[in-house]
Structures are given as structure tokens and as C-alpha cells.
């Protein structure tokens, strides 16, 4: 068989190393010239008891011979460690009809009946079930490794099934475990080989064409890309408080930032973190704070202070399932409202969203540019999916930004923007501490243009006008948004954030069928381009794709904004708060229902 793109999964109990195995494997895929996109599957608890449904952990990997932007619509093949996980994973219905399930019978003795039920369930679901068993020698070696190493067996299987070079794998295993004593390494390699052999006897094999990848390619997840972007954007201060799935930005920076002259400050809570970010920027040192879910709610009061004092502020919100603690390790796009409207009083801010790793890298540059030019808060919305998924992508050009005027127009254009026109400030003096003759005080109270407290109507109206005029400056800096497909037709699907990949693929599938469907993706989600109304009018139906709740009366967040701004009957047709990304197939199916 030869495939353009294939998606497979390795599902194991948490703590058994599925993610490590996946990392090693995709390194080899990438090396030989495949594009890959990985989404780890992480339980909300650290290491829940094994052989329970909540212990499900693993990786979903999509490999292709072309640049892929999303995890795909369904799984072609999965290796599952035991029956409980199979049973659990089948609930999600993410398999393709007729796809292959390789079930390890290793635990069969523990619960024969349950195994049978899980197997029956898989077969009833129309899956192609194949069972296997580790050979006794591999099991013995696992014993010597203290029960570890099963992931190496599965890795061997996958290496064989996907016809990846065994040598490359060995090299990768060696470099991954380079701290391990040679003896232990050998045992791991032994298990790997057993797995390889095991798969050789199976009637399962996939061939994915591999071209030598041109140019300079990187492999990175979204949060790492944001961290690197922060460094490249010349930001020098990170203030944060740990929270899933934002924490890894802080982790990466904690290691790397000092080498580039930056500092990481772990505050006592999210409120303190944003306060320190504001202090740093007031003092002239570009800073950023990142958070998720509950953290963005806590930061709202300080966001208002930044607005009022005209202090630059960048807040990154890596969205997860809500409301409240919600689903901390699942993806969602429900923080758009809180990002735009969360703070009391009139809100003026810019909200960016990131579609992929490259966007993650450049979002800090654009955020810094906007917040320093406008002196209004800039919120960057990423999400769980973007934060943990990593993919092979073209090396982005470094900016090595020192001043915001260094920003390349191409970077702004990536977010649909041209350079901003002139911006008026509420307060005339915007000097930085240390500037002699410029001492100035800022306050959350209303002020006149001199910065003095002012309670009169005209002064308060002026402050509101000036701040809102800044947002108008952004509206005037929009490039005409580009469509996926034509600028008119039967259905337009509008999306934002990490949904881009599936949007592109879904729309392309529909267009291949000759349907008049187009896509539109927004990276600046607030404010919206003024020409949107005219653009949307050229379609019979406009619907959005968002991983968020929406019904006939309550629109999903972007749909609601679009309706209010354009008065077009935009429907929130695609997406639900499922914790899982929207797939290309979902887009295809839902659009067809509309047509």
C-alpha cells in the first residue's frame, strides 16, 4: 500500500512511555523526509493507577509525504496495551471504518472476559482487530528492566509496520537514552527488536513515500515555539504562575531565557504575575505573562489597569476545556469572550490567535509591536492542541527584534496586518522611569491628557474616545483577508486559531468534489476587519468552525462577533466542546448538511 497520509496511535497506561516512543519514531520519520504531526494524549492526573480508563495516555501521529497541518479525521491503525484502554478509546469514535487495531494480549489472563468484550466491541465497530503477544524472551528482559520497556516493543512494531529504517531507529534510541548505561540500552534494543520481529509476521504494512525534505526543517511544539518567539521578539521578562497547558512556556524559558539575557519570575499567583509583567513594561523592559483557564479570569483586574495606564501588556492564554477547572488537558476555544470582554468597564484591546507552530513563533513579535505602538493590552490565544502538538515545519526566519520598528512587514502580514498608522495616546507623556525631566504618574483613575486625575464628563469621554480610536487604527491596518478557495460561493466556513489546519484540508476535500465552499481564517480575532461584512455577503451560507459551545440561540464566540459586526446570519455549525480538535472530515460532513 502507498499512502499520502496515515494516522496511527499508540495507547498505553500513563507512565509507560508511549510519548517517548512516539518522539523517537517521529524523529526517524522526519529524518527520512516525512512530514509529521503529533498530538500527545495526556491524562489530567499525573500517573493514575494503571489498568483503569483514566490511565489512558499515548500519542496520535499523522505522517505524510506532504506538509500536513492537522491531526486528521480518523485513525488508520492503533496499538493498544490492554483491553481497558481499548474499551475507553473506542468511546471517542476517532477510528476510521475498517481501520486496524493491534491489541496486546499480555494482560488477558487478568480479565479474559473483559478482553473478550473489548474485542467484540472493536469488531462490532467494524474494526480490523489483530491480537498479539510479546514473546517470552522480551517479557523476561522487561523483568530485568523493572517492568519497563513495553513501549520499545511497540516502537519496534511500528518501525516495521511503517517501514522506517531500523538503523535510524537504533540511532535515535541511543541518542534518546544516552544517559543510560550501555547494558540497559542493549536490553531496550533487544525488546525493540522483538517488537520489530513480531510485526514482521503480521499482515500489516504501510508505505509512506518520503522525499528528501527541501530547505531547513524544524520539529517543535507550539509552546516551545512561543518561547522561542518571545526570545526572538526581544522580550526580556517572563512572569508566570504554573498552570496546564501554559506551564511549559515557563519551563522552556526557565532553561533558555538567561542565555539570551531574559529572566523568568515565578510569582505567587496569576494576579501577581501579571502585576509584575506590567511593572516591568512600565519600567521599559518588554515582558509577557502566560496562563490558561482560571488564570485568565484572575488577571482581568490588572488587564484593566494596563488599559487605563496605557502600559504595554502581553498576555498569552493557552485555552483548555472550561468552564472552571473543566478539562485541563483537553482543547477548547471558549476563552474568546473573556479575552475580549473579561474586564469590567469599557475594554479596548487586541486579541490574536495562533493557527500553527509558525504562528506561535511570530505571535510574540506581533503582540509586542501592537502593544508598544498602541499601549493597549494584547491577548494571544493559543490552545491545548497547539501547545502540545508538534510538527515538522519550515524554519522561520529570525527577526532578532530589538525595537518594535524592526518588525518585518511579512510578519505583520502573516497576521493579516500592515504597519499601523499614527496613534494618539490619552496621556501625552509616555516616558520611562529614568528619563530626566519627565517624571510622570499613572493611575487606574481617569485622567486628562496631562496625566492628572480628572472626573469631568468631557475628560472621561475623551479618554474612552482616544482608547477606542487606537482600536480603529488596528481596523484600518487590516489587509484584505485571503480565502481558502474563491471569494464567493455557497458556503463560507470561518474559523480562528488552531482550527486552520482542518479547515484547509476540509475545504479542499469539498472543493475537490466540486462544491462551492470556501474557508476564511482569522488570526486577529479582535478587532475584526471592517471589510468582513462585504466579504461575507458573497456567500449563501456562512458558518463557523470552533471548538466551543453554540446552539440556535446562543452562538459560539466567533459567530456571535461576526453576527454583531456584519449582521450576516452566521451560524455556529461546526464544533462542540468535545475536548478534541475539529477534523477535516467533520467540516466536510457539516458543510454538506448545510448545502
Amino acid at each position: 500500500m502507498s499512502h499520502q497520509a496515515i494516522r496511527f496511535e499508540l495507547i498505553m497506561d500513563a507512565g509507560n512511555g508511549a510519548q517517548k516512543a512516539g518522539d523517537i519514531l517521529i524523529g526517524a520519520f522526519a529524518k527520512r523526509g516525512n512530514y509529521v504531526y503529533i498530538e500527545p494524549m495526556i491524562p489530567a492526573e499525573i500517573s493514575p493507577p494503571k489498568r483503569t480508563p483514566y490511565s489512558m495516555s499515548g500519542v496520535v501521529i499523522r505522517v505524510a509525504d506532504y506538509d500536513i497541518s492537522n491531526i486528521g479525521s480518523g485513525t488508520d491503525l492503533m496499538i493498544v496495551e490492554h483491553e481497558i484502554l481499548l474499551d475507553r478509546r473506542l468511546i471517542d469514535k476517532e477510528y476510521l471504518p475498517g481501520s486496524i487495531v493491534l491489541l496486546d494480549l499480555g494482560d488477558e489472563a487478568k480479565n479474559k472476559e473483559a478482553y473478550q468484550q473489548a474485542k467484540d466491541k472493536a469488531i462490532q465497530a467494524g474494526l480490523n482487530l489483530i491480537t498479539f503477544n510479546m514473546d517470552d524472551e522480551a517479557k523476561k528482559v522487561m523483568g530485568e528492566l523493572g517492568g519497563n520497556g513495553k513501549n520499545m516493543f511497540y516502537l519496534g512494531m511500528l518501525t516495521k509496520i511503517f517501514n522506517v529504517s531500523r538503523e535510524q531507529l537504533e540511532t535515535n534510541i541511543r541518542s534518546t537514552f544516552k544517559k543510560l548505561p550501555e547494558e540497559k540500552l542493549k536490553l531496550n534494543l533487544f525488546i525493540f527488536d522483538s517488537g520489530y520481529r513480531c510485526a514482521s509476521e503480521m499482515p500489516v504494512s504501510f508505505e509512506i513515500a518520503a522525499h528528501p525534505i527541501e530547505g531547513d526543517k524544524l520539529l517543535m511544539d507550539g509552546n516551545t515555539a512561543i518561547s522561542m518567539g518571545i526570545i526572538d521578539a526581544g522580550i526580556k521578562m517572563y512572569c508566570g504562575y504554573p498552570i496546564t497547558p501554559a506551564s511549559s512556556i515557563m519551563h522552556v524559558l526557565a532553561k533558555q531565557f538567561p542565555q539570551y539575557g531574559g529572566m523568568v519570575h515565578q510569582a505567587e499567583d496569576e494576579i501577581s504575575a501579571i502585576g509584575s509583567a506590567i511593572g516591568s513594561y512600565y519600567a521599559g523592559v518588554p515582558s509577557v505573562t502566560a496562563t490558561a483557564g482560571p488564570g485568565i479570569s484572575l488577571k482581568q483586574e490588572f488587564i484593566g489597569l494596563a488599559t487605563s495606564t496605557e502600559t504595554p501588556l502581553i498576555v498569552i492564554d493557552v485555552m483548555r476545556g472550561g468552564p472552571s477547572t473543566g478539562l485541563p488537558t483537553k482543547t477548547e476555544q471558549s476563552d474568546l469572550y473573556t479575552a475580549i470582554f473579561g474586564c469590567h468597564g469599557d475594554n479596548t484591546k487586541v486579541v490574536l490567535s495562533v493557527a500553527n507552530v509558525t504562528d506561535c513563533f511570530y505571535a510574540p513579535h506581533v503582540a509586542r509591536y501592537l502593544t508598544e505602538k498602541l499601549r493597549v493590552p494584547v491577548i494571544v490565544l493559543s490552545d491545548y492542541l497547539s501547545s502540545v502538538s508538534y510538527k515538522v515545519f519550515e524554519r522561520p526566519a529570525l527577526v532578532e527584534m530589538n525595537s518594535v520598528d524592526d518588525i518585518p512587514h511579512t510578519v505583520l502580514a502573516r497576521f493579516g496586518l500592515k504597519p499601523l498608522g499614527p496613534v494618539e495616546m490619552v496621556k501625552d507623556d509616555q516616558s520611562v522611569p529614568g528619563e530626566v525631566g519627565h517624571t510622570r504618574r499613572v493611575t487606574g483613575l481617569n485622567t486628562s491628557s496631562t496625566g492628572q486625575i480628572a472626573y469631568t464628563s468631557d475628560s472621561n469621554i475623551r479618554s474612552h474616545d482616544v482608547r477606542n480610536q487606537k482600536i480603529q487604527v488596528v481596523r484600518e491596518a487590516f489587509l484584505t483577508p485571503e480565502f481558502i478557495g474563491d471569494a464567493s460561493g455557497d458556503v463560507l466556513v470561518v474559523a480562528w486559531g488552531s482550527t486552520l489546519g482542518s479547515l484547509e484540508e476540509g475545504v479542499m476535500m469539498l472543493r475537490k468534489e466540486g462544491l462551492k465552499v470556501s474557508g476564511l481564517h482569522l488570526k486577529v480575532v479582535y478587532p475584526l476587519p471592517m471589510m468582513l461584512k462585504d466579504l461575507l455577503k458573497n456567500f449563501k451560507h456562512v458558518i463557523t468552525a470552533e471548538v466551543a459551545y453554540g446552539d440556535n440561540y446562543k452562538s459560539s464566540p466567533l459567530a456571535m462577533l461576526l453576527r454583531a459586526e456584519t449582521l450576516v446570519d452566521v451560524k455556529s455549525t461546526i464544533g462542540e466542546p468535545s475536548g478534541r480538535p475539529i477534523t477535516p472530515q467533520e467540516i466536510v460532513t457539516k458543510v454538506k448538511e448545510v448545502l
Binding site: 502585576g275 523592559v285 529614568g434 517624571t439
Partner: protein, 301 residues
């Protein structure tokens, strides 16, 4: 950002807008003391930042011709923390009220004290919520009728000096706004101390809490005096006892802190406590620098 150093700054140079406090408010005394101290030390107004929360106390930055942030209620410390990491060349003064510091802002105070970043923290204690008009604060005298506890405030007040000592503050002093030279000396000592210098200031609020501090009498308090600390103020506190107290004596400091009788002076100073801002900054300073041009190399496949 060159700082002018040759100028001679006078009191007037530290004066910005006219205050809008009530007649007789003790905040005037604190404002004047800060200005006097800065003039004495010839601090460059352009390199001073006053950071405050919300309250009558929170208005200080507006009246000081320095840089300043009148931030949000209870959260001046986080803002100051950010500045201190970013710009060690600036001189930071935080002004906070008893409600601002000990009620809504308590957690930031804990962590400010614990991180011991370099600043002077002035807690203006009128034992009441002034700006919001007469509610019980953590330092309100038990039994005092307020708008929120009209039957008489329920709890024994928190003792701010004891509070700061208990959290391991590296510098703890107390003074009063009406002790016009003592307060300046205390601020001076606090400023000279590297780390988080906690300065408690007894402050009168004639509007809502006129019985709180009896400035006309001085027999209800004593001065803690020491060559390492500050002198007693015999002019404004003629009837106060004078106690020699070495600020490096932790145990004794605790004893004075826990007494019902009030002591003004420097309770405690520990010059050995590490400063978080130094640690974080020096880790960055010491890190072997990498050119940004190679930033992405290790992600190459």
C-alpha cells in the same frame, strides 16, 4: 536614560499636585517626610518610582514629582516586584494602607517579604478603611463601631509589626507621621537597608477614626533607639520612654513586637538575607550568552 546627577534637588522638586486629603489627615505628614527624606538624600526624582494600591494612602504617588504607579487595591507589591527585577537602577517606594496591605494584599505582602526584593514598603496605618468610608480593617481596634461592624469590630486587630516579623522580614520598623524627624530617619534607615524594608507608620484619620492614635500624648509609647537604628524623637515624643535596642537581636525584637505597649524605632534588621531580585538577575547575568542567530538550531531535524 541618562540620569542627571549634578543638580541640587530641593523639597519643591519632589512636589507634584496638591493633595486632596481631609484637613488634619496624617497622610500629609507622611508625604512631607518622603519628600524631606528624598531631598536630604538628593534622590533623583527621575529615578524614583512610588507605587501604591488604592486608598487615601494610595494617593501618595500623585503628589510626588517622581515616577509613579497608582495601581490597584492591594497589589502594589507585584508591580514593584516587576520593576525591581527589570530595573535595579531605580529606587522603589511602595505606599500601602492597612486594608490594602493586610486585607486584600496580604498574600503579596507575604511573598514580598519572603522574596526580600529591594524596596521601601510604607504601611500607612490609620486602623480603618478611609477612602471607602469607615469600614473595619485588619488593624481596627476591637470594639470600634464601623460601618461594617456597627456593633463594634469583632476581632483583635492584627499587629502589623508582629506580622512582618513572623514572616521573616529583613527590616522592620515603626514610626508615626507626627514624629516629623523620627519618620524621616526611619525612612532613611529603611532606604539604606538592601531588601524589603517594612516600615509601619501610625497615621491619624481624623475623619473616621479620630480616637486611633493619640498624637498629643507620648506616654503610651516608647522609642527603640540604637546606633544601628534611629534616635528617639524627644521633641515630639517627650514623655516616651527610650529603650536601647539592637536591631540585630531577633528574640528581643519579637518581644517588643508582641507587646501591647507600642514601640517606635527599628525593631529588626538582617543584612544577610538574600534578595530574590539579585538572585534572579545574577543568574541571568552569569549565564553564558548565546547569539539569537542560533536560537532555532537545536530544533533542526
Amino acid at each position: 536614560m541618562a540620569l542627571a546627577t549634578e543638580t541640587k534637588f530641593t523639597l519643591k522638586d519632589y512636589k507634584a499636585a496638591d493633595p486632596r486629603w481631609c484637613t488634619g489627615c496624617g497622610d500629609y505628614g507622611i508625604l512631607v517626610a518622603l519628600r524631606r527624606f528624598m531631598a536630604d538624600k538628593q534622590l533623583n526624582p527621575a529615578s524614583v518610582v512610588n507605587i501604591s494600591g488604592i486608598g487615601c494612602s494610595g494617593r501618595i504617588p500623585h503628589y510626588m514629582n517622581t515616577y509613579g504607579i497608582h495601581s490597584i487595591h492591594g497589589r502594589a507589591i507585584p508591580v514593584a516586584m516587576g520593576i525591581s527585577l527589570a530595573r535595579p537602577d531605580l529606587q522603589l517606594f511602595i505606599e500601602s494602607g492597612d486594608g490594602d496591605a493586610l486585607s486584600i494584599g496580604g498574600n503579596h505582602l507575604i511573598h514580598g517579604i519572603n522574596k526580600n526584593f529591594n524596596c521601601v514598603f510604607v504601611m500607612m496605618d490609620n486602623q480603618i478603611y478611609g477612602l471607602t468610608k469607615n469600614q473595619t480593617s485588619p488593624t481596627t481596634r476591637q470594639g470600634l463601631a464601623t460601618n461594617t461592624q456597627p456593633q463594634g469590630s469583632w476581632l483583635k486587630p492584627i499587629n502589623p509589626v508582629q506580622f512582618a516579623m513572623g514572616l521573616g522580614a529583613s527590616f522592620v520598623a515603626s514610626t508615626a507621621e507626627w514624629l516629623t524627624s523620627h519618620i524621616v530617619e526611619v525612612i532613611e534607615a529603611a532606604y539604606a537597608h538592601k531588601g524589603f524594608s517594612f516600615v509601619h507608620v501610625a497615621q491619624r484619620c481624623p475623619k473616621f477614626n479620630p480616637t486611633a492614635w493619640e498624637a498629643k500624648e507620648s506616654n503610651w509609647y516608647s522609642f527603640l533607639q540604637h546606633e544601628k537604628g534611629v534616635k528617639a524623637d524627644t521633641k515630639y515624643g517627650p514623655d516616651a520612654a527610650i529603650i536601647e535596642h539592637d536591631p540585630s537581636d531577633l528574640g528581643q525584637a519579637f518581644k517588643y513586637a508582641m507587646m501591647d505597649h507600642k514601640h517606635f524605632g527599628v525593631y529588626y534588621q538582617d543584612t544577610s538575607k538574600a534578595c530574590y531580585d539579585d538572585i534572579v538577575r545574577s543568574a541571568t547575568d552569569k549565564a553564558v550568552k548565546q547569539p539569537r542567530s542560533g536560537l532555532l538550531d537545536r530544533f533542526k531535524i
